[in-house]
Symmetry: C2
Subunit: 202 residues, 2 copies
């Protein structure tokens, strides 16, 4: 059976997205066949304008609509405390928790030798320069890269770089331990180890 070219093209586009396999791509495409043309046009236009309508902040490298971004321009935030994350999505997640009132630095990746991503491929040099150059003195840098092998290595590398640059800042790592709502019985040994190390006084 010959699958129409128009269907094949959409399926292939979906398949290129992360976490979407051939079956899901097919299912999404055939779903779209039942959607009004107006909505398809809106979908198409939004994808086309995605990058045109966003810019990377030249200070924190988060994505935004203006440069410097809203967060960097916000004088109500504490500019002396800087949170380093891997991705713009991490900023959104942390902002949703409403706990952090400082500013951010987005690395756009992690050191990942297996995928040929070295320290120069991500925004580490920019972070070091930023800490030295900021008008408001940065007092603390929270390294909030993911608690994975690569994330830990990236955090360690950044800490080393900052110390080598003689930056007079407190460097901390985001807390690791049992996630809320989880079960000690099912927690993995490394998480439990970290949870023991990171215990707090009651």
């Amino acid at each position: 059976m010959k699958i129409p070219k128009a269907i094949q093209l959409v399926t292939e586009s979906f398949e290129r997205l992360p976490g979407i396999g051939p079956k899901t791509a097919e299912r999404l495409t055939f779903y779209l066949l039942h959607v009004p043309q107006g909505e398809l046009d809106r979908f198409a236009k939004s994808v086309q304008n995605l990058k045109i309508g966003t810019i990377t902040c030249s200070t924190c490298f988060n994505v935004g609509e203006i440069d410097p971004c809203d967060l960097c321009q916000d004088t109500r935030r504490d500019h002396s405390i800087l949170c380093v994350v891997e991705q713009p999505l991490d900023v959104i997640a942390l902002e949703k928790s409403r706990k952090f009132q400082g500013i951010y630095h987005v690395l756009h990746g992690k050191i990942d030798p297996l995928n040929n991503i070295g320290p120069d491929e991500i925004r580490i040099a920019e972070l070091v320069n930023r800490v030295k150059g900021e008008r408001v003195r940065v007092k603390e840098i929270i390294l909030a890269t993911n608690p994975t092998m690569e994330g830990e290595a990236t955090a360690m590398y950044i800490a080393k770089q900052l110390k080598a640059a003689n930056a007079d800042v407190k460097i901390s790592r985001i807390g690791r331990g049992l996630p809320i709502g989880s079960d000690i019985e099912y927690a993995d040994p490394t998480t439990l180890e970290r949870a023991m190390e990171g215990r707090s006084e009651y």
Copy 2:
């Protein structure tokens, strides 16, 4: 934190797709931020042209590029045996198995009272008319709706309609039982019941 409008629009478009929640929609959108503009344009264009580049076959109601579709025009196929399915995706799945050499009829749905879909909303009347009107006499109709509550009810309803129309055809239902590679231990009672009923001589 204000999420850029351009990002919001793409996220909302993805969220409307079946099986894609807010988190996945966000992840897909931020992935697209790293994709070259040319690829975004191709993605957008494919979505926009999806419906323009496809038509519904006026005989079998499958989606295709020409009318009648490739399958209906194919004289090497057995036009005396008709397989009734719910969706165009079912045609693709059956074609991949290479077992069926007849032609199809796509209902575009199933009788589903809970979602206000009655027999008139799907292509049942067209099926009955087709069986009566076909130049090549249809000898067998295989009802290959899904083995779900709604699919079974739809198959039963169609069988009744065909009998009421005095159509001189054999009506069969696609085999139900244990899927290949599965485990009797984990099979649900209804599947086992059907597997027993549908046993074949060795």
